[in-house]
Symmetry: C2
C-alpha cells in the first residue's frame, strides 16, 4: 500500500503539499496540484483512514440506534440516513440497541470509544430513562427521533406529529357524521402515547363525549405477532359494549389489521358499520382486505432532516432544532 510519502516523492514535492492537495487547500500552484494528482492516480493512492482519523479526531462515521428490528419503518429511515451520510463521506452503523438501559448505555459507550462523530437515537418505550442519553448528547452530537418533545431547546428531535395527525382523522370522522369514535393503542410507547393525546384532545374539540369504553390500550410484550392479536382483542372488547363505536382509530397499522379481522369475522361491514384507520402505512396495508386507510409518516423527510441537523451539530454541538412533521393520510377502503 502506497503512503503519502510515496506520492510526494513521485510528484517531487513534500508530504505537506500532497496533504494540502487532498484537503483542497487554496494557495497551491496549479502545476504542482496537477503533478500531485497524477502521482496519486499513478500509484492508485488512497489516504489511510486511521492515520487521517488519529490526526483529525474524526471517524467520519455515524450511528443509528433502534429499539427493535421487526419494523420496516426503521429500515426506511436507515436507508435515507445512510444515503445522506454517504453523500458526505460518512459511514453509518446500524445499532440494534434494544430497550434495556444497560445495553443501550454500553452500546453508546462503545460508540464513544470509537470516536463516532454523532448518533441518531430512536425512542420507543416511554419508560426508557432517556435523561442519561440527553446528558451524553451534550458531549457528543445526537438527534432523537420518535421523541416528540418540544419542551426543551438543549436537544434536537425529529418526529412525526402524531398528535395533529390523529386530530385530523377525528375531524374527518366528525365531518362524516360518525357518532362514536374509539381509539386502540399501545401502552408505554412514546409515539403511540402522543397519538392518544391527539385522540383525546380532538374528541373533546369535536364535541364528542369521552368514555373509557371507547379506549383500548394494552402493554406490548416484545413479540411481533402480538400487535395483530392486540388489535383483535381490542375490537372484541370495544364491540362488546352496549354502545358500539362506528369508527376506530388505531395507533398502528398492525393493530388496525387485527381490528379489521375481528370485525369481518363478526359480520360487521367496513366502513359502513365501522370505519377503521391505521398509522404507518406498512406495505401489507395496501393489500389486506379491506385496504387500510392510514397515515404515512414522511419518512424520507424525517430521515433527511435528522441527518441534516446532526451534521450541523457535528460542526457545532450547541446547535439545536426540534421538528414535528405532518403525515399524509392515505385513503383506502377501510374509511
Amino acid at each position: 500500500m502506497n503512503n503519502i510519502f510515496d506520492v510526494a516523492r513521485l510528484a517531487g514535492v513534500s508530504k505537506s503539499t500532497v496533504s494540502r492537495v487532498m484537503n483542497n487547500c487554496d494557495n497551491i500552484k496549479p502545476s504542482t496540484r496537477e503533478k500531485v494528482e497524477s502521482a496519486m492516480k499513478e500509484l492508485n493512492y488512497t489516504p489511510s483512514y486511521f492515520a487521517q482519523s488519529i490526526r483529525t479526531g474524526k471517524a467520519k462515521m455515524l450511528a443509528f440506534l433502534i429499539p427493535e428490528t421487526t419494523n420496516l419503518y426503521y429500515n426506511e429511515l436507515f436507508n435515507v440516513i445512510e444515503s445522506a451520510a454517504l453523500r458526505q463521506g460518512y459511514l453509518v452503523t446500524l445499532c440494534n440497541a434494544g430497550q434495556d438501559k444497560e445495553h443501550v448505555l454500553s452500546y453508546v459507550q462503545m460508540l464513544r470509544q470509537r470516536n463516532i462523530d454523532g448518533m441518531i437515537y430512536c425512542m420507543y418505550h416511554s419508560s426508557f430513562p432517556i435523561s442519561e442519553l440527553i446528558d451524553i448528547s451534550h458531549e457528543i452530537p445526537m438527534v432523537f427521533m420518535d421523541y416528540p418533545n418540544s419542551q426543551r431547546d438543549d436537544i434536537s428531535c425529529v418526529s412525526a406529529d402524531g398528535l395533529h395527525d390523529i386530530a385530523r382523522i377525528t375531524r374527518m370522522f366528525q365531518e362524516e357524521g360518525r357518532k362514536r369514535v374509539a381509539f386502540v393503542g399501545l401502552e408505554d410507547i412514546v409515539s403511540t402515547n402522543y397519538r392518544y393525546l391527539g385522540y383525546s384532545a380532538s374528541l373533546i374539540a369535536c364535541g364528542y363525549n369521552f368514555s373509557s369504553d371507547l379506549v383500548y390500550q394494552e402493554y406490548l410484550s416484545s413479540y411481533a405477532g402480538e400487535h395483530f392479536a392486540i388489535g383483535y382483542r381490542a375490537a372484541q372488547k370495544l364491540m362488546s359494549y352496549p354502545e358500539k363505536p362506528d369508527a376506530i382509530i388505531c395507533a398502528t397499522d398492525m393493530l388496525a389489521i387485527g381490528v379489521n379481522r375481528y370485525l369481518l369475522e363478526s359480520g360487521y361491514h367496513i366502513p359502513q358499520d365501522v370505519a377503521v384507520t391505521g398509522y404507518d402505512n406498512i406495505a401489507i396495508s395496501a393489500v389486506v382486505f379491506p385496504a387500510l386507510s392510514t397515515m404515512a409518516q414522511p419518512v424520507k423527510q424525517m430521515g433527511e432532516l435528522a441527518a441534516d441537523i446532526l451534521f450541523k451539530k457535528i460542526e457545532n454541538n450547541s446547535y439545536n432544532r426540534t421538528v414535528l412533521l405532518s403525515s399524509d393520510f392515505i385513503k383506502r377502503g377501510s374509511t
Copy 2:
C-alpha cells in the same frame, strides 16, 4: 481524555508495560499488573481506537451488505451477526448496497479504504456479476450468503438449502395424494432459482409429469407490493388451464399470500381444493387466513455460522467453508 502515558506515569511504569497489560501478555509481575490496572480504573482510561488501529491495521469492524431493505429476513440476519460480532468486540455496519454493480463496488471500495476486517455479502439477483466480488474476497475476508454454490472451494457460502427444502414439500404433497403440483417463483433471484431446481427435480423423482402449465415465474421489479401481485396473477394463470393444480408451491410467503387471495376470491377451498406453501415464515404468515404453511430458514444458525466462518477467515483468509442448511417446515392451515 487520558492517554497511555498518563496511566504509565500514575502507575509508575512505562507505556510499554501498560500496553502489555492491556493486551494480556504473559510475563508481567502480578504486582505491576495490579498497579497498572488500578491506574487505568482511576483515570477511567480507555485506549484510543484510532491509535490502536493505526498500529495493528485492524478496524475491529465488519460490514453486512444487503441488496434491499424491505425484507425482515435481513433484519434478523443482521441481528444475529451483530450480536456475534459484538461478543468479539467488533462493530458491524449495515450496508444497503443495492444491486447496481457500480454502486456495490464503490461501497466495497469505501469499506476497504476504511480497513474493514471482513464482510458478509448477501446475494440476490442471479444476474449480478459476482466474479469481481469473488476476486476481492481473496484479498479481504468475505462470506457470501444466499449464494448456494458448493462448486468451488476458494470461497465461503452460507445459505438455506432451498433445493432440498422444496423437495421435501413436493414429497409431502405426493404422500398426501396430490396429483398436480405447481410452482410459483421469481425469475432472476438466486435463492428462488435454487428452489425451482428443487421443485423440478423432485417432480420427476416423485413420478409427476412436468408441464409448463404448472410453472409460473415472473421478473421482479423493485417495488415491494409487487410480490403479492405476482402471486395473485400466478394463481389466476395456473387456475385458468383446463388441468388445474391441486397444490401450489410458492418460492416466498408474499407470493403465497397473493396466491391464496386469488384462490379465496375465486371460491376455491384451501387446502381441500388446492394446498399452498410459502417459504420464509414472515411474521404476517401466521396471521393471514388461512394461516400459511411455510419453510422457516434457520436464520439464527445461518447468521452465526457466517460470522463464525468470517472470523476464521479474518485469522487466515485461505480458510474456506460452504454450508447449506435445512429449513424447518411450519405446518399451518394452508396444507
